[in-house]
C-alpha cells in the first residue's frame, strides 16, 4: 500500500480557445503516474505546458479531454465545488510569491484551509500552531507577512499547505523569490517533509532545484519529453510514455 498511485493522468489534453479559429494546444496527450511518497520535479521552459499541467494536477483547472484520477477518483469531470473540496483536503499549494494574505497573521493564514474545511475553532488553532512549529515558526504565529523575511513567509506558506495533511504538496518555483541560501533551507525543509512520508511535486525550471527530487519529468511542447528516476534512491520504476 506504501506505493499506492496518488495521481494517474492518462492522455490529458488541454486546448485554449483564443477567439476565432485560433486554438492553443497547451497539453497534447500527457501521461503521468505519481505514487505515494514520491519526490517529483516537473521541469520545462516557459510555454512548454508545465504550468498548465501543474494547474490540472492541482485541480485548479480541468482538462479538455483525457482522464485524471486522484486517489482513484475521477476528478477530470468534477464541478467547481467538488474541485474546491479536493484542493482543500488533498492538495497543499506552495507558490513562488508565497501568496499569503497580507492583512492576516501567520496563524490565521495557516488556519484558512481549516476554516474552509469546517474545522471547529479550538481544533483549528491547535492544528495550525502544530504546522507552524513543524516548519520552525512556532515563535512567530502572530506576525503578519510583512513582519517576516522571505524564507519565513515561505515557511508559513508551507505550514498552510501541510495543515490539512494533504495527499500531495504541490510547489511552484518555491525558491524563485528567495536568495540561494534561504532557497537551500527551503529545499532542505521539503526533503525533510518528504522523509516524513509526504508526496512532493516540485514545478521548476531550475536544474539545481530539480536535482533535489528523486524523479524528474521534463515537459516540452505539451508532451512529456522524458521521465527519469534520479539514481540515488530506489523508487519503483514508472513507465514513461513519450
Amino acid at each position: 500500500m506504501d506505493n499506492a498511485v496518488v495521481i494517474n493522468i492518462q492522455q490529458i489534453k488541454k486546448m485554449y480557445d483564443m477567439g476565432g479559429a485560433e486554438e492553443v494546444h497547451a497539453l497534447r496527450g500527457v501521461n503521468v503516474e505519481i505514487r505515494k511518497n514520491e519526490y517529483v520535479a516537473i521541469m520545462g521552459p516557459s510555454g512548454s505546458g508545465k504550468s498548465t499541467l501543474m494547474n490540472i494536477i492541482g485541480c485548479l483547472d480541468t482538462p479538455t479531454s483525457g482522464l485524471y484520477e486522484f486517489n482513484g477518483v475521477n476528478v477530470s469531470e468534477m464541478n467547481d465545488n467538488q474541485l474546491a473540496k479536493i484542493r482543500n483536503k488533498e492538495i497543499g499549494f506552495v507558490f513562488q510569491t508565497f501568496n499569503l494574505l497580507a492583512r492576516s497573521d501567520s496563524l490565521h493564514n495557516v488556519e484558512l484551509p481549516l476554516i474552509y474545511g469546517g474545522i471547529p475553532a479550538a481544533e483549528r488553532k491547535r492544528l495550525a500552531t502544530e504546522a507552524l512549529e513543524q516548519v520552525g515558526l512556532g515563535e512567530r504565529i502572530h506576525h503578519k507577512p510583512n513582519e517576516l523575511s522571505g524564507g519565513q513567509r515561505q515557511r508559513v506558506a508551507i505550514a498552510r499547505a501541510l495543515v490539512n495533511k494533504p495527499s500531495i504538496l504541490l510547489a511552484d518555483e518555491p525558491t524563485g523569490n528567495l536568495d540561494s541560501k534561504t532557497g537551500d533551507e527551503i529545499m532542505n525543509l521539503f526533503a525533510e517533509l518528504h522523509n516524513k512520508g509526504n508526496t512532493v511535486i516540485l514545478v521548476t525550471h531550475e536544474e539545481y532545484i530539480a536535482e533535489h527530487a528523486h524523479r524528474i519529468i521534463r515537459v516540452r511542447d505539451g508532451l512529456v519529453a522524458s521521465d527519469e528516476v534520479v539514481a540515488r534512491v530506489k523508487i519503483p520504476a514508472v513507465a514513461a510514455a513519450v
Binding site: D61, D80, A84, R87, F93, L101, I115, Y116, P120
Partner: protein, 409 residues
C-alpha cells in the same frame, strides 16, 4: 456549524477590509449614511406631524360632534351648499329633548371683540356665547375656578370664563378669578380660567376665547348668523348611531322630505384627522420616494466600490480558491462586506437622524419621536441595500477562474 464558521470568517475579513481602506470606506459609507439619514428623518418628521395633528385634533373632543351650516372638509361644489339656511339657536333645546344618545347639547355663537382691563387689552379675541352645557358638550377640559351655572346662563349674567392665552395677556401677574374685564366695552366678571391647550389649532381651542352666557352675548352683540350646536355622545362606539339620530331630528326640523339632501353638516374631529392623514400620506409617499432616491444612489456607490474591491483583491480570491474556498464562500465573503458597510452606514445615519430629531424637539417643542418601527425598517433597508448592491460584485468574485485569479498582479 460550517455556516457559522464561514459567517464569522466573512465578518473578520469584512472588518479587516474596511479598516484597511479607511478613506474609501468612509466615503462609501457616506452615501448610505445620507440615504438612511434622509429616509428616517423624513419618516420621523411625517410621524411627528401626524402625532402633533392627532393631539391637536383631540382638542375638538373625540366624542363631540358639531352641527353646523357647512362641512369642515368638502369636495362638493360651493354653489351647492352656499345657499343653505342658517342654523338656529332654537335647534339646541329640540335636539336636547329628542335625542337619546347624547349627554349634552350646547349652542355656540362666536364673534371677535376687544377684551381689556384698564392696563391690558387684546384685540380680536374670540367671544363665544353659549350655555352652561358648553363644558359638557366639548372635549373635557379642566377649569381653574368654574363655568357659569344654568341660572347665570339663563339670566344673562355678566360673567365669563376665559382661555389661558387671554388670562396670560390680560392678567399677566395676577389671579384672574373674581376680577373684572371688559368684553367689547361691557364689564364681565371672570369665573374661571381654562387650562392651556396649545396645539396647531390655537384659535379653535379655548386658549384665546372668552365664554359668556348666550343671552348676555345676544344683548351685547346682537343675534349672530353663524350658530354651531355642540353635541356630546354618551358612548363613543355609538357615535355613528348618534349621528343618524341627529340627522333625523335635523331633517324634521328643516322639513326635508325623503330624497332631499341634507342642508346642514355634522362635523367631528375624525373628519380632520382623516383628511390630514390623506394629506400626510401623499406628502410622505413623495418624500420617501425622493429620499429613497438618495439611498438608491448610496447603494450604487456601494456596488461601485465593491466592484473595485473585487478587482483589487483578485489575487486574494485566487489564493482563497486555491486553498479550498468554494464559490458560495467567496460570494458570502463579499456579500457580508457590502452588508457590513451598509449596516454601519445605516446605524450612523440613524444616529444622526435621532440627534437631529432631538435637537429639533428641544428647539421647536415638536414632540416628534423616532418610532421603533422606523429604526427596525432602517436597519433592514440598509441590510437589503447592502445585499442587493453587493450581489453583482460578489457574484463576479465567486465565479472567477482560480488560475486566472492567481495570475493577476
Amino acid at each position: 456549524m460550517y455556516f457559522l464558521t464561514e459567517l464569522k470568517e466573512g465578518l473578520i475579513i469584512a472588518f479587516r477590509a474596511i479598516r484597511g481602506n479607511k478613506m474609501r470606506s468612509v466615503l462609501t459609507t457616506l452615501g448610505i449614511i445620507i440615504g438612511i439619514f434622509a429616509v428616517t428623518g423624513m419618516a420621523t418628521a411625517i410621524d411627528g406631524l401626524n402625532a402633533a395633528f392627532d393631539r391637536s385634533a383631540k382638542a375638538f373632543g373625540t366624542d363631540v360632534m358639531y352641527v353646523q351650516k357647512f362641512p369642515w372638509v368638502s369636495n362638493d361644489d360651493w354653489d351647492l351648499i352656499r345657499n343653505r339656511p342658517d342654523m338656529k339657536l332654537e335647534y339646541a333645546p329640540v335636539l336636547e329633548r329628542k335625542a337619546s344618545l347624547l349627554t349634552a347639547v350646547a349652542p355656540v355663537v362666536v364673534r371677535r371683540a376687544k377684551v381689556s382691563t384698564s392696563k391690558h387689552s387684546l384685540e380680536d379675541a374670540f367671544v363665544t356665547g353659549t350655555t352652561d352645557q358648553y363644558n359638557n358638550a366639548s372635549g373635557n377640559k379642566d377649569i381653574d375656578g368654574r363655568f357659569f351655572s344654568a341660572e347665570e346662563s339663563n339670566g344673562g349674567r355678566p360673567v365669563c370664563v376665559i382661555g389661558a392665552t387671554i388670562a396670560e395677556t390680560i392678567f399677566p401677574n395676577a389671579d384672574p378669578i373674581g376680577q373684572e374685564l371688559k368684553v367689547g366695552g361691557f364689564p364681565y366678571t371672570v369665573l374661571g380660567v381654562y387650562e392651556k391647550q396649545g396645539g396647531m389649532f390655537g384659535q379653535f381651542t379655548t386658549d384665546s376665547r372668552v365664554f359668556v352666557p348666550i343671552h348676555s352675548f345676544q344683548s351685547h352683540f346682537g343675534n349672530h348668523a353663524f350658530v354651531t350646536i355642540n353635541v356630546r355622545v354618551a358612548e363613543i362606539p355609538k357615535m355613528e348611531d348618534a349621528k343618524v339620530e341627529i340627522e333625523g331630528i335635523m331633517r324634521s326640523l328643516r322639513r326635508l322630505t325623503p330624497g332631499k339632501v341634507n342642508n346642514f353638516s355634522i362635523n367631528s374631529q375624525e373628519i380632520l384627522t382623516e383628511t390630514f392623514g390623506q394629506f400626510t400620506f401623499v406628502v410622505g409617499a413623495i418624500g420617501l420616494f425622493i429620499t429613497g432616491l438618495s439611498l438608491f444612489v448610496g447603494g450604487i456607490g456601494i456596488m461601485n466600490i465593491m466592484f473595485v474591491s473585487v478587482t483589487e483583491r483578485t489575487k486574494e480570491i485566487g489564493i482563497r480558491k486555491a486553498i479550498g474556498a468554494r464559490r458560495r464562500t467567496i460570494l458570502m465573503q463579499f456579500l457580508i462586506e457590502a452588508a457590513v458597510i451598509c449596516l454601519i452606514g445605516g446605524l450612523i445615519g440613524l444616529l444622526l437622524a435621532f440627534i437631529i430629531v432631538q435637537l429639533m424637539n428641544s428647539a421647536f417643542d415638536l414632540g416628534a419621536t423616532m418610532p421603533l418601527s422606523i429604526v427596525f425598517i432602517a436597519i433592514m433597508v440598509s441590510l437589503i441595500v447592502g445585499l442587493t448592491s453587493g450581489f453583482m460584485p460578489a457574484y463576479r468574485a465567486a465565479k472567477m477562474d482560480p488560475v486566472e485569479a492567481l495570475r493577476y498582479e
